[in-house]
């Protein structure tokens, strides 16, 4: 008897772990099948703040069941796609990660006939640097990096990233805790274009960051919200959409955009090679680019939408006139996009960044 029980236990355990490893098995499909969406956390309108629950809406309209999971970093997404045999149908990686995925044949070409709403996408976001022939991507959102500063601590509105190296603000400066964004800022100050950078460029940027370290309070990502909103720090670089959110909380905060441009980043919807529901995935992507849906997502995210129709007809002037969210074309022309950094240079960058922090 004991033997039987333990065999059953072992079998259940093995089965459970196998199921866990193979990820989203499809036993809950709607009438029209399902679509497995893998997105950033808090990156879709979810019914909060009087906004639409976009996923519910899609399920009701199409009868396709959405299995929605989230990740925190592009690297996490990459590792899931590379090292586990889960199947996702729609993913929303950032610019540099898209280049990497295309290079490694990890994306499927889209059938744009199934995505008629692609016509609403602004021209600037159609032939993305990471996908110059527009074969794999439909842009989801975009933004620029900028600085947020506390008016009670910084007397003059900064005009350059150099403000993050200001000795008068020693101990009150925050910096990106993320190699790409930190290195890019340093490279810009060294006069290097961060796209297509080499190891020598990384070395120069690393030297610049070493110079900054003694002036810093901290390297932060999400903690920036707490630091700035509660008036704990003077200045920090961050992403435009989040700067808007922080400024809503603390009226002493203001934004500053470096005059010679910043990083233009975007996330785009793609279908990974492991997809088993390509048509549903295209339906989902198309749905997300319906102008009213894109507008709902914009209102939730505060990251700019590439959807022209949504911008023209569904978004309040208050947002449209905000140069931080929707910078002028002239400003965007001065910005750079972080793509085409080879794997080798990218790892070197990460290693150098860790070394700076570890010293």
């Amino acid at each position: 008897m004991k033997k039987i029980i333990s065999i059953i236990l072992a079998a259940t355990l093995a089965a459970a772990s196998a199921a866990g490893l193979s990820g989203c098995g499809g036993n809950r499909g709607g009438n029209e099948g399902e679509v497995n969406v893998y997105n950033w956390g808090e990156y879709i309108a979810n019914g909060e703040d009087d906004l639409m629950d976009v996923i519910d809406e899609f399920e009701n309209e199409t009868n396709i069941k959405v299995n929605y999971t989230t990740y925190e970093t592009n690297e996490e997404l990459y590792n899931m796609l590379k090292n586990s045999n889960v199947s996702y149908d729609v993913i929303i990686p950032s610019d540099y990660m898209i280049s990497k995925l295309i290079e490694e044949d990890m994306l499927l070409e889209l059938n744009y006939d199934n995505i008629p709403n692609y016509k609403y996408i602004m021209d600037r976001f159609k032939k993305l640097d990471c996908d110059p022939e527009s074969k794999y991507t439909v842009c989801y959102s975009w933004g620029v990096t900028a600085m947020i500063y506390d008016k009670t601590k910084v007397s003059k509105k900064p005009t350059s990233w150099e403000a993050l190296w200001d000795k008068n603000l020693r101990g009150q400066i925050l910096m990106f805790n993320n190699n790409r964004d930190a290195m890019a800022i340093a490279m810009q100050l060294c006069g290097i274009n961060p796209s297509n950078c080499t190891k020598e460029d990384v070395d120069k940027a690393a030297a610049k960051l070493r110079e900054q370290k003694p002036l810093l309070k901290k390297y932060v990502m999400d903690q920036v919200f707490n630091e700035m909103e509660n008036g704990q720090s003077a200045i920090a670089p961050y992403y435009a959409g989040d700067i808007v959110t922080m400024m809503d909380v603390n009226e002493n905060l203001d934004y500053a955009m470096p005059v010679d441009g910043a990083n233009l980043f975007y996330d785009a919807m793609c279908i990974p090679a492991c997809s088993k529901n390509k048509e549903n995935a295209e339906k989902f992507i198309n749905f997300m680019q319906k102008p009213e849906i894109a507008a709902e997502n914009f209102k939730y995210l505060c990251y700019a939408t590439p959807n022209k129709e949504a911008y023209d007809n569904y978004i309040d002037d208050e947002y449209k006139n905000n140069e931080l969210i929707f910078p002028s074309d002239e400003y965007l022309d001065k910005c750079y996009v972080f793509t085409n950094v080879s794997d080798e240079v990218y790892s070197y960058m990460q290693e150098q960044f860790v070394n700076i922090q570890a010293e």
Binding site: K3, S6, L9, L13, A14, Q357, A358
Partner: protein
């Protein structure tokens, strides 16, 4: 002989979730990106020896402070009425029901500039920064792990046979020598498992230092996390070295007390 079959599920569990991952880490640590044998990950790992030392130092200091604080507390609790003991232990446990990250956020609010502590002390004319330094990290660690030190020591102490203490008193020991000759030696196993339970997690954590520390307080857990983004080989090598260091520490602890105390 007792049947071992009921333990099979646990053995499978250990195999799948402990042994195989460790073997994989070992394998990755000795290979390069192409999967060939290489010692490069270890040469790279030694770039971070300063961080290793600092992490171990912070962990050691936190453990020592925990011990100093926890031992008298455990002694006091063990001497209380039985019902009071339960209440006090309960009070010690309650904070642990809350998510650790939330509690760290609470500390940030307490310690930050113009926070309650800063306000109170500046009324007394003391102006300083209480967050973003190693002191804050150690405070966070001690706060987090103190119950893990108190509980095992208390458990061991409360099980000491009162007859032994009475016998010592009958033989003319005063309170101090009862403590020195009876209670202290008998509580060693509790101390050892307390030290283990505090030192091991605090050597490898990075949350506390990320939230309460400054730019110089990066810990080895943080380095492992970041390096893993792009270089799993070096990440594995660092993890392996950390595991070995902790293992050595456990063996040393083992020499001081009886084996069963090692968690």
């Amino acid at each position: 002989m007792k049947s071992r079959k009921p333990s099979i599920p646990y053995i499978i569990w250990m195999l799948v979730f402990t042994m195989i991952p460790i073997i994989m880490i070992g394998f990755t640590a000795f290979t390069d990106k192409q999967g060939n044998f290489s010692l490069e990950p270890f040469t790279k790992a030694f770039n971070y020896s300063e961080v290793f030392l600092k992490s171990l130092w912070i962990a050691l200091l936190s453990t020592a402070i925990c011990l100093v604080l926890a031992y008298p507390l455990a002694y006091l609790i063990a001497g209380m009425k039985h019902s009071t003991q339960n209440t006090v232990i309960m009070l010690l446990m309650i904070p642990m029901w809350m998510n650790f990250l939330l509690r760290i956020y609470a500390w940030i609010t307490l310690l930050q500039d113009n926070g309650p502590i800063d306000m109170a002390l500046s009324l007394l004319g003391i102006n300083a920064t209480y967050i973003g330094n190693t002191g804050a990290v150690i405070l966070g660690m001690v706060y987090e792990y103190l119950p893990f030190m108190v509980l095992p020591i208390y458990t061991v102490m409360s099980k000491i046979d009162p007859g032994l203490i009475e016998a010592a008193q009958d033989l003319g020991s005063n309170r101090f020598s009862v403590f020195r000759r009876v209670i202290a030696p008998l509580s060693v196993p509790g101390i050892i498992s307390g030290i283990t339970m505090v030192f091991v997690p605090s050597a490898s954590t990075f949350l506390v230092s990320q939230y309460l520390g400054g730019t110089d307080d990066i810990m080895i857990g943080d380095v492992i996390d970041k390096i893993f983004w792009t270089d799993q080989n070096t990440g594995s090598a660092i993890s392996l070295i950390l595991m070995i260091l902790i293992f050595v520490f456990l063996i040393i602890m083992n020499l001081f007390g009886d084996e069963e105390a090692i968690a």
